[in-house]
């Protein structure tokens, strides 16, 4: 017995050694191409970096952390969405399959705008980005496409939404994807802001917001969305730290009611690398946050302090 055990532990040791070596080797092989900085600039708001790793081009804010990838696309297949969270955003189409007016707050590389324009060539798409330098970089390095109906403006998202409401505008789909270096700016997380956003929706209009799942803010953020929209879908991917919140002006239908669109949507979205069946599977009405969490307001929004 004893001898046997020893042998086993020895062989275990060598096995794990082999495993470690293989992993290192695999890691080395999987990154044969060094990331190359294509463009770098310091804007009024941040350091902007465009990096090429082989075929993959990424937009980064600030340099040190790896978490700061804002937008990526494959140079050979610019239509294919690379980022997981952008794919999750398409859950919105199961609720509202034909948006005619789309508002995107937070441009990044403009990949979402490009994809939506191809999907809905007649839809009006407005991109709002606070940093003019990001718009410039999107145009220059990410093939960000603009025409009469696909536009961009360098503005603060909150101001744009307030003014748009005053002008009587309404949108079928509002995508909230504004990030500064750390997280979503504080004034774009409050109950008042979400109420303004909700007021800007058409009757069947929806909001999809890109958030992170791992932070103390999770509970506060969830409670705030609940307070404004009532029940909302969470769309998460287990591999990912992103969580999409999908909410509507009206109460959202149960999942069973969304299945009708699924097959048609699957074929439409496939060319863009979006597997809507997977996205559908990860949609949930679960309330997995602390129910007594306080709501973030313009008066109380220590968002970025909590996000640590």
């Amino acid at each position: 017995m004893k001898v046997n055990l020893q042998l086993t532990s020895k062989s275990r040791l060598s096995l794990s050694l082999i495993a470690v070596l293989t992993t290192i080797f695999a890691l080395l092989m999987s990154q044969p191409v060094q990331a190359k900085v294509v463009h770098q600039e310091r804007s009024m708001y941040r350091n902007i970096l465009v990096e090429d790793t082989g075929n993959l081009r990424c937009l980064k804010f600030n340099v040190k952390s790896h978490k700061t990838n804002q937008s990526c696309f494959l140079k050979s297949e610019p239509n294919r969405l690379v980022f997981n969270y952008t794919k999750l955003l398409f859950s919105g189409l199961l609720v509202n399959p034909n948006p005619e007016r789309i508002l995107i707050i937070g441009l990044g590389g403009g990949t979402m705008s490009n994809t939506l324009h191809q999907l809905f060539p007649t839809a009006r798409i407005e991109n709002i980005e606070i940093d003019p330098a990001v718009i410039k970089v999107a145009r220059q390095y990410f093939d960000f496409f603009e025409n009469d109906i696909v536009t961009s403006q360098a503005k603060d998202g909150r101001i744009f939404i307030k003014r748009a409401k005053m002008k009587g505008e309404a949108y079928d789909w509002i995508i909230l994807d504004a990030f500064n270096g750390d997280y979503i700016p504080e004034h774009l997380m409050t109950k008042e802001f979400l109420q303004e956003t909700k007021d800007l929706l058409t009757d069947n209009g929806i909001v999809t917001a890109n958030t992170f799942s791992v932070s103390k803010l999770y509970d506060y953020e969830s409670a705030t969305y609940q307070a404004v929209f009532g029940d909302f879908y969470q769309v998460k991917n287990k591999k990912n730290e992103n969580r999409i919140l999908l909410a509507g002006k009206k109460a959202l239908p149960q999942k069973a009611a969304l299945e009708a669109n699924l097959a048609a949507m699957h074929d439409r979205l496939k060319p863009y690398g979006v597997n809507i069946l997977q996205v559908f599977d990860s949609m949930t009405f679960d309330k997995d946050w602390q129910q007594d969490s306080s709501v973030l307001t313009d008066q109380y929004s220590p968002a970025n302090l909590l996000n640590q």
Binding site: M44, Y45, I130, K155, D156, G157, R158, I159, K162, R163, M166, P185, E186, H187, T190, E192, F193, T297, D298, Q299, Y300, S301, P302, L305, L306
Partner: protein
């Protein structure tokens, strides 16, 4: 003339005013954001208005200190400052909404809003530093040193007001509660200075020379003029 610990009391008041000025300025960014956003020019507007008001406040405070400077009047400045800070909490939204509707460009919108909200209270808060120097200085030789200590104390207050407000207060309190607290503290300190100042004036009056006919002399200043000639 002065009570024991008066200088310490004045330094404490100057510290508190420094603390409040920067606390309010920091919250200014928060207050403006819902209407004017968080673009870089928001801070441009806020800082411009604070610097402008402080500069005007220094000028007025210095001028005021040349005539009958006393603790009573010093307290009045705090009282007025406290009362002017209060509306930031209670009327900011309607004021900003009106400006938002009138001015489309958020640069000038935020500048006008900062003026409307912070211009007057900060002018009055700015008056405190030169007035403090006047109350503290007793001789020409020490005036520079006193001014140095005063700037040290009030600017240290500003530093702490900035960090404590941004690191901790916003975590535990609503913006309006913090503003209200600043306002009440200023009012309270003002009332304290007014009370002490009145006592001082009363005892001063009792000590004033009485002439043959039993009337008090009109005022010290006119006496001094006579001596000078």
């Amino acid at each position: 003339m002065t009570f024991r610990g008066q200088n310490l009391f004045i330094y404490l008041l100057a510290f508190t005013s420094g603390f409040s000025i920067m606390g309010v300025e920091l919250l200014g960014g928060r207050i403006l954001a819902p209407f004017f956003g968080s673009s870089v020019h928001i801070w441009g507007s806020i800082i411009t208005v604070f610097m402008l008001s402080l500069s005007i406040g220094y000028l007025i405070g210095g001028k005021l200190s040349t005539r009958n400077a006393n603790l009573f009047r010093y307290g009045l400045i705090f009282l007025v400052a406290g009362c002017l800070v209060m509306p930031i909490a209670y009327f900011a939204n309607p004021i900003m909404e009106a400006i938002f509707l009138q001015i489309e460009d958020s640069r000038y919108g935020s500048l006008v809003a900062s003026m409307a909200l912070f211009f007057f209270p900060t002018i009055v808060l700015g008056m405190i530093s030169p007035y403090s120097v006047r109350l503290l200085v007793t001789s020409k030789e020490e005036s520079g040193q006193i001014a140095g200590i005063l700037y040290f104390v009030s600017t240290l207050g500003s530093a702490l007001g900035t960090i404590i407000t941004s690191f901790y207060f916003v975590l535990y309190f609503e913006v309006n509660d913090i503003i209200t607290a600043f306002s009440l503290i200023l009012v309270f300190l003002g009332l304290a200075a007014i009370t002490l100042g009145r006592k001082q004036l009363a005892s001063q009056a009792a000590q004033e020379p009485v002439d043959q006919h039993g009337k008090k002399s009109q005022n010290n200043a006119s006496n001094e003029v006579i001596h000078e000639s």
